[in-house]
């Protein structure tokens, strides 16, 4: 699992870390019972305040995505990569798309139509 942060993203850093872990769970790059990096290692790698990493890990634990083995570290909870997290991930993508649509003065239906037609076009291109 790679965790990287987008400098353009203005959401709180701990939220971005939580989202990266959720994505790794859904994609399978973080498997059941796989260890997460230690707070110290991730803080150093991302140049982030270690308290922020701890906050993200506490949030992940509260949401049931990871569990803590005392004195050993933080691990991915098995069976979390299915429905719920996938849904949460899709919800985040939808939120960002809607935000962008609103900024551009587009209605929801226009956005959904545009996504469908763009996807059709792309599938046609790929099948050629």
């Amino acid at each position: 699992m790679l965790i990287s942060l987008d400098p353009q993203d203005t959401r709180p850093i701990y939220v971005q870390i939580v989202d990266e872990v959720r994505r790794a769970l859904v994609l399978g790059t973080l498997g059941p019972d796989d260890p997460l990096p230690s707070v110290r290692d991730l803080a150093v790698k991302l140049r982030v305040n270690p308290n922020t990493v701890s906050q993200a890990y506490r949030d992940l634990e509260r949401q049931g995505m990871v569990y803590v083995r005392r004195g050993q570290g933080t691990y991915a909870t098995p069976g979390q990569a299915d429905g719920v997290e996938r849904h949460a991930l899709a919800d985040g993508v939808a939120q960002r798309a809607l935000h962008d649509a609103r900024r551009n003065g587009l209605a929801v239906d226009e956005l959904i139509d545009a996504i469908r037609s763009h996807n059709n076009k792309r599938q046609k291109e790929e099948s050629q």
Partner: protein, 307 residues
């Protein structure tokens, strides 16, 4: 009704506290009634233009400069009356690293410095020297600004003091060494119980480390708050408005910036988001976007409101 910018933190244990600090240099006011509050364990970013009083504030904490009025405490110790005890608890990287010792070799200076601090961690000092690529046989006087800065960072960190006062810690460093320094700081914070007060012009570099911010301008502390409060309270609103729009009477917040163009206005406002959106909408505007600001943009808006 407006929401003033906060200048006081909520209750909690403070590592650094000043009350009503005032300092004049001749007819120049360097500090004007500054009440700084740095919670234990915080990474407190002090921002402001040159001459705002950032360096003077740090020096008063160490009793290197004496205030005309007000008081300063570090871990409950009065900076003026207990200066040696305060300094024993502090790792300091000065803005100008040229304070004497020009004739001394870097290695000898580190040994000399170590002898003052019982908590000096020689292994850690050696690791830092390696990370910072210090050349121990060079004399301090011939070092570049960046090289001297790295020596000072090593001296400040290696005794693992409970408080770090870092005045422009990445100034003069090349981009690689800046990045390395941020990693060293993140590692240090994970390993040692440390409170940090840091002043820098490179806000974007420490965006991910800082959890509190103080905004100094003209010797006055204009705002002081936690990042959580800043993130929750400050927003940029982009609004479509009709032709010849009369404007909005009050926004229930403190407007820091307003940029107007035909049929479009952008506000940067400190205040409750829902109420502000509602005010803008009921005044006939279409709110297209509400976004939080990066720390750099927030700093610019707080330092230089144009409304």
């Amino acid at each position: 009704m407006t929401s003033p910018l906060p200048t006081r933190l909520r209750d909690g244990d403070l590592a650094v506290e000043t009350r009503g600090l005032t300092k004049r240099f001749g007819d120049q006011i360097a500090l004007n009634d500054v009440t700084l509050q740095v919670p234990v364990g915080a990474v407190y970013l002090l921002v402001g233009p040159n001459g705002a009083g950032k360096s003077t504030t740090l020096k008063v904490l160490l009793d290197l400069v004496r205030a005309d009025q007000g008081m300063a405490e570090v871990f409950g110790l009065n900076s003026r009356e207990r200066a040696p005890a305060v300094r024993a608890n502090v790792g300091y990287v000065p803005e100008r690293p040229d304070w004497g010792y020009g004739w001394m070799r870097v290695g000898r200076l580190l040994e000399h410095h170590a002898s003052y601090y019982p908590s000096w961690d020689a292994d850690y000092a050696a690791r830092l020297a390696q990370k910072f690529e210090l050349r121990l046989d060079r004399k301090m006087g011939v070092l570049s600004k960046g090289q001297a800065r790295r020596v000072h960072l090593t001296m400040a960190l290696a005794h693992r003091p409970p408080l770090l006062l870092l005045d422009e810690p990445t100034d003069g460093l090349d981009p690689l060494m800046r990045d390395e320094t941020l990693g060293v700081l993140a590692d240090h914070l994970a390993e040692s119980q440390t409170t940090v007060v840091l002043s820098t012009h490179h806000v974007e570099e420490v965006e991910r480390l800082a959890d509190h911010i103080g905004v100094l301008r003209g010797g006055e502390l204009r705002a002081q708050m936690s990042r959580a409060d800043l993130d929750a309270g400050l927003r940029r609103y982009r609004v479509e408005v009709p032709d010849a729009w009369p404007g909005v009477a009050s926004l229930n917040g403190k407007v820091l910036r307003r940029v107007t163009a035909p049929r479009e206005v952008q506000w940067t406002v400190w205040g409750p988001e829902a109420e502000i959106v509602q005010k803008l909408s009921s005044a006939g505007g279409t709110v297209r976007e509400v976004v939080p600001l990066s720390l750099l943009d927030a700093t610019l808006a707080l330092l230089n409101p144009n409304d």
